[in-house]
Symmetry: none
Subunit: 419 residues, 2 copies
């Protein structure tokens, strides 16, 4: 079963709003094993809409359009579908009564324009789920000798989503006859480049490629995500939840055998949530002392709801004398091993924490006191013992700060996991 | 001139990551008057990539692909382009040396896979701007009797953006033969909703619509940008820089007459850079005391290069006793006017600063000591005088923190501008 998505709206092409609907629909389709090979954005132009929908019907069994079902002159998805079907639009009296009822029930009079929304291509039906005033459309029809289905849903995300989960997904599953399911699991990693990871996992990918997947199977994909690290996504397809879970478990074990040390979490976990969970599970409190990262570490930790269980607070010591005053740091150079060690100790002392991370360095773009940008000292302190590391980055200011943040949290994670 | 965008990557179709590149490119193309009628997402599949790129070339003068230029087996945009052009791929020795240099200069050895990135379709060239290890490609060629151009840029947003602004936009303008120039200027605003702004500026937009724009002219667009506020973009088209600058100056004056008080900056300025500039110009130093925002304000300030001229540092007082210990705050309730006032004073005292901002509140999702999420106290302190404000948001945790950050910086900006 193949299903394409066509997102309608000139504002999408102009970048005035992002098309998040296609991504969401793609995710839902993938979860039930329906392929979506193409997704297209097209403006509010009848000829181009008809062209795109027709091309999609040639390639796929089903097409979902989003947007263009409102009551204004710009909203011409109904007209485009009628043209694709080669039929006229006709007012559906029942639908008109429903729409009118929505207005009158809230004490308002329906504007004349909204009558347009009750027009449906002859032979098509309204989608039985209708969360807002815009009805969706479903049309089953013969297209060059094959039965195809065309759905039109509104562009308003929650209305679209209710129609998808309340009707379209099940309708598509019924039509596909495929009862297999697809699930995925993501291993979060830090410390390898995308090409390095691909090289390390090349044999495993080759093994998967050679495995017979006619009754389902497993695939691996890498997603580079900047300061979120590299994600290794395992996707499995099989007859039912038990089969798919077994496939995922087996593959996760194989991948962890190969890249275990750089895996820091799964799925929705991120580096901060893992560190906070480790602190909480060991009954340890956490503090930060940031110079180079200027609050970035603390703000990521506090973005996690429930972080107050472990996180006590932090200091941002940008001016050198603030390092001395707040953290009892030495008078020596600001970017040095002595300084970062003193900052990590000072954070625990000043903020009354068991564990801390500290950063100092040159974010650039310029050198500072002869030290080139990208020179970074980080430290972790666990129950009074400090470890320091020197990092050297060839990045811009933003990436130097981002990579320092995750790297020092990862160093703390590794120490906490050994406790 | 018509230019389509093809976003490559199975992860985009699966909704694992959103395709924000197409929107961004669409915006940039629109700003210089280039039409983008179709934007397509396609997976990492050679046949389907070739199909989509070919269809796009039939409809448009230029095509930009994003993604699929990495070093892994999945990255086959180079192969797809070679097939569309009907040529082979060949290693470009100069390019290979550049890529290898990027690895060796940071003391690493280039993985063998990265050699793949130096392959370019015969007859095409590397895009002269190359921010990361993935080179872009530009190919000019005859397509069914017409000269077309095909650009391939990486999917990593900042690399893509540097290639677009550093090369592709200008190259497209040159090819279009349109000698008029287009420039835009963005007014950064904070404190109005998009519909509110549209209503306030409706008369001005109507005036522009009625103005003869056959020889160029001016348009207004709104871009909602979350915690970056609403951007009002003025775009002017005219024969030369003098004409266009006069159009922009005139329109900026008209818009400022209407919405002046909510405009905080222009173009690349953001709230933090404006606040830092104001501090520096008055010779004032700045500090932060954050509870609710947990370092977000400080990290935004320190993201600005040169921030150390005014910013001395900050404290993140997440645990209540840290507020008392570090900021000499009272023993009373953590989320209160008294607390935020004490935090603002304490920040100036503890960090030795002339000016400070402070935040405390309930970020949610749960209530805290009976206080509902979204209840936020903020304070600004300028030369010893504190002003406090109570904010109430109906947002999620992230938006509560983000909106608090910009709102308190905006309050400080307004006070500094009156000095």
């Amino acid at each position: 079963m193949r299903c394409e998505v066509v997102a309608v709206g000139s504002e999408l092409l102009l970048g005035q709003i992002a098309d998040t609907n296609s991504s969401w629909i793609g995710q839902e389709l993938a979860a039930v094993g329906i392929d979506s090979h193409f997704q297209t954005k097209v403006g509010d132009n009848l000829t181009r809409m008809v062209e795109v929908i027709t091309a999609a019907l040639h390639r796929s069994d089903a097409v979902i359009t989003t947007g263009g079902l409102g009551p204004t002159q710009d909203d011409i998805t109904r007209d485009a579908i009628a043209e694709v079907l080669g039929v006229d639009l006709a007012v559906d009296d029942e639908l008109l009564a429903t729409i009118e009822g929505m207005w009158t029930s809230s004490g308002r009079t329906m504007p004349a324009n909204n009558r347009l929304q009750a027009r449906i291509p002859v032979g098509a039906s309204a989608i039985p789920v209708q969360p807002g005033t815009a009805p969706g459309i479903v049309a089953t029809f013969d297209f060059h000798g094959e039965t195809k289905v065309l759905y039109a849903v509104p562009g308003v995300p929650w209305e679209m989503q209710e129609m998808m989960t309340g009707f379209i997904i099940e309708d598509l599953m019924d039509r596909s006859g495929d009862t297999s399911i697809i699930r995925s699991r993501t291993l979060r990693t830090w410390g390898q480049s995308e090409s390095g990871l691909a090289e390390i996992l090349a044999d495993e990918i080759a093994r998967l490629d050679e495995t017979d997947s006619s009754n389902g199977g497993v695939t691996l994909a890498f997603l580079a995500s900047g300061m979120e690290g590299l994600k290794v996504r395992i996707t499995a397809k099989g007859a039912n939840e038990t089969v798919v879970t077994a496939l995922l478990d087996d593959e996760e074990a194989r991948v962890r055998d190969i890249i275990g040390p750089i895996v820091f979490g799964l799925d929705d976990q991120n580096m901060e949530s893992v560190v906070l969970d480790l602190c909480a599970s060991h009954g340890l409190t956490l503090a930060t002392a940031e110079s180079l990262t200027g609050g970035l570490i603390a703000q990521r930790l506090t973005a996690i709801s429930g972080s107050s269980k472990a996180f006590r607070g932090g200091v941002i010591t940008y001016a050198t004398d603030v390092k001395t005053a707040l953290l009892n740091a030495p008078d020596g150079p600001s970017v040095s091993e002595e300084m970062v060690e003193a900052m990590a100790r000072g954070a625990c002392a000043t903020l009354g924490a068991d564990v801390s991370v500290a950063t100092t360095g040159v974010a650039g773009p310029d050198s500072w006191e002869g030290i080139p940008p990208g020179t970074v000292w980080v430290a972790t302190c666990v129950n009074g013992e400090v470890e320091t590391h020197l990092l050297r980055y060839k990045f811009d200011r933003t990436r130097i700060r981002n990579f320092t943040t995750i790297t020092v949290l990862n160093l703390l994670r590794q120490r906490l996991e050994k406790l």
